[in-house]
Symmetry: C2
Subunit: 365 residues, 2 copies
């Protein structure tokens, strides 16, 4: 029976993670590489708590090297030999965090040079302009620059996953992102994880590539659900935006805690990208975020130039730029209604694990 | 911790189901009331296997009474005293199946008269034109006609659920339908179950009303996931379309088995309603179905009158009217990629239960 095979297989995969990332504990919790907001402190806090933290791309391509240097500095100054994480770093010489790259406007030479110099344990590739060909190019160059680096590819459809799995430069891990995800996801052909994940797991089973679930998960219930659906690990983004270590404005973070009922309070739209001056995203993707006055006015027909002017004024107002009366981009996932407080990322990782374990054990008996 | 409380609470709720529906086994599997396609044979097969089967509304309002009479006839002619289900029927005088009513074009007098005469154990209410007021009117009249009947209300948003829970005529059970569902669901404010269900469970906790998950679930993985998210039971529609007992054309059923990758092969649209001559659905809802030539031609700009003509010709062609080259309505959910065979409904119920139990027990250890 496919469901059972999948559940059994995922157990084997967790064991493999522990070989590659010897500090991780179960269930495998991953901090997603949110652009700018997932920096050195967040990524390292997730890893130190037994997960795997990724840093997002920075505002500039060179920021990746700066952030990796910072990870190294914190590790060497704050961690001690009795931390499993530090021991792994010392024996492998690999930084126990991953880095994310947004390919369509990424810079491959900076990426390879940062990875070569600092040797992060994994790279998470996302949003190529030219599909698998571009993913392959990055995978090849990053593996050349850092043999043994784990290549993770994030997809939002089964066909992207199947294409990546059949490539000669196939990834070590596939992240399956459901339609509930915040930030950029599939614009038109996304699907909810509850249907997408098991079908993707079935389709990818022969490849042996493990599957990580992403999108709309914010507590132990979602973690337990994703494991049930066949995931061997769970990536969370929005939940970690409401952590002490996130590199985020207070006004933005308050919104992640405040907002509920994502069906009514979020939308997928390029409006906020454009208001921020970001153009050129490939058409396959668009971002989910919490809506505010920019969106309300847009719906009401206010022309873009006027919206842009109001947006730029709001940007000068500090934390008041966010919120229902605000105008600034507030990318977030559909799990916002499950997030009620800002907490240390390490506390979150351990609670997610404990909740999931208690739920599964309660349901099994 | 809310997640844990929820998991614990749902265990208590399962115990309560066994008081009301003494033949049900765990996990609680529900056959959804698909219009016409869920008839007496399907509903009773689901209940006899330890679930609770609902019959859908018929093509005419009077069909509900005809279908209920048929359930009674099968029960009395085929079931024996040693079946828990039959014993429950004999002691309670209630039919061990439920009936579904689509309110906006339903007929309340026929419904109350059918329920009074045949005493089904539960009624599932869906799609009022006038919101909670109309749901209340149906709940009151059905409870008058059949004191003790379990009133289930299906919602697709948290605010609908909260409104129903705070009504003086609140339901006994709330079915939370995610955006992955087939047939009619929320047109614009649907959300994937993985985010919708736990937030709904949190919001409804104080009411004590148990929550059933629906939408996109087709195997034991989805059942285990929904339980993890806080559901106390799982309703499946599309999975039971591919059962021997479904009242469905072979051409339609073949499509449910054939189609995969719902993100690309299904759409939410009223086109097929209109081609079938069904107009007047309240704007909140629209149906998901497998797309075919009617949709392709519509996208390509073929006018409705021409589409209708081609549709009506296809309707004369029997089972060839369905399929990628067909033109007939093929309502189905996003779980289609998980369905690979037509099987007896009772076999499905028991496999869903066994798979879920094995997955949960495997993950707990």
């Amino acid at each position: 029976m496919s469901a059972l095979r999948s559940a059994v297989a995922s157990t084997g995969r967790r064991a493999r993670y522990a070989d590659i990332f010897p500090w991780v504990t179960s269930p495998f919790i991953v901090g997603a590489p949110m652009r700018v907001m997932a920096g050195p402190n967040l990524a390292l806090a997730v890893s130190r708590a037994g997960g795997l933290g990724f840093m997002g791309p920075g505002a500039k391509a060179q920021d990746t090297a700066v952030d990796l240097a910072k990870v190294k500095e914190i590790l060497e100054s704050q961690c001690t030999n009795d931390e499993k994480l530090f021991a792994a770093f010392q024996s492998t010489k690999r930084l126990p965090v991953g880095v994310g790259f947004q390919l369509w406007n990424g810079d491959l030479p900076s990426a390879t040079s940062a990875v070569q110099e600092y040797q992060p344990c994994a790279a998470w590739l996302f949003a190529p302009r030219n599909g698998q060909e571009e993913l392959d190019e990055w995978a090849v160059k990053l593996r050349e620059a850092s043999p043994g680096i784990q290549i993770w590819i994030q997809v939002g459809t089964i066909r992207e996953g199947a294409e990546a799995a059949s490539s000669a430069h196939r990834p070590d891990v596939l992240v399956i992102q459901g339609a509930e995800a915040g930030g950029h996801g599939r614009a038109k052909d996304g699907l909810g994880l509850i249907a997408l994940l098991p079908e993707a797991a079935d389709r990818l089973r022969e490849s042996g590539i493990p599957v990580i679930a992403a999108g709309g998960i914010a507590d132990g219930r979602g973690v337990a659900a994703a494991l049930s659906l066949g995931a061997s690990g769970i990536a969370l983004g929005t939940r970690f935006l409401a952590s002490n270590e996130a590199r985020i404005s207070k006004g933005y973070q308050n919104e992640v805690v405040r907002a509920t009922e994502a069906a009514h309070s979020t939308a997928r739209t390029h409006l906020y990208n454009h208001l921020r001056g970001t153009f050129g995203w490939p058409e396959h993707w668009s971002p989910r975020g919490i809506t505010n006055m920019s969106w309300q006015d847009h719906i009401a027909g206010v022309p873009f130039d006027e919206l842009k002017q109001r947006h730029d004024v709001a940007q000068e107002s500090g934390d008041k730029g966010w919120g229902p009366e605000g105008r600034l981009a507030t990318y977030a996932g559909a799990g916002i209604g499950l997030i009620h407080s800002v907490e240390p990322a390490g506390v979150l990782v351990q609670r997610l694990q404990n909740e999931a374990k208690e739920i599964l054990s309660g349901l099994a008996h």
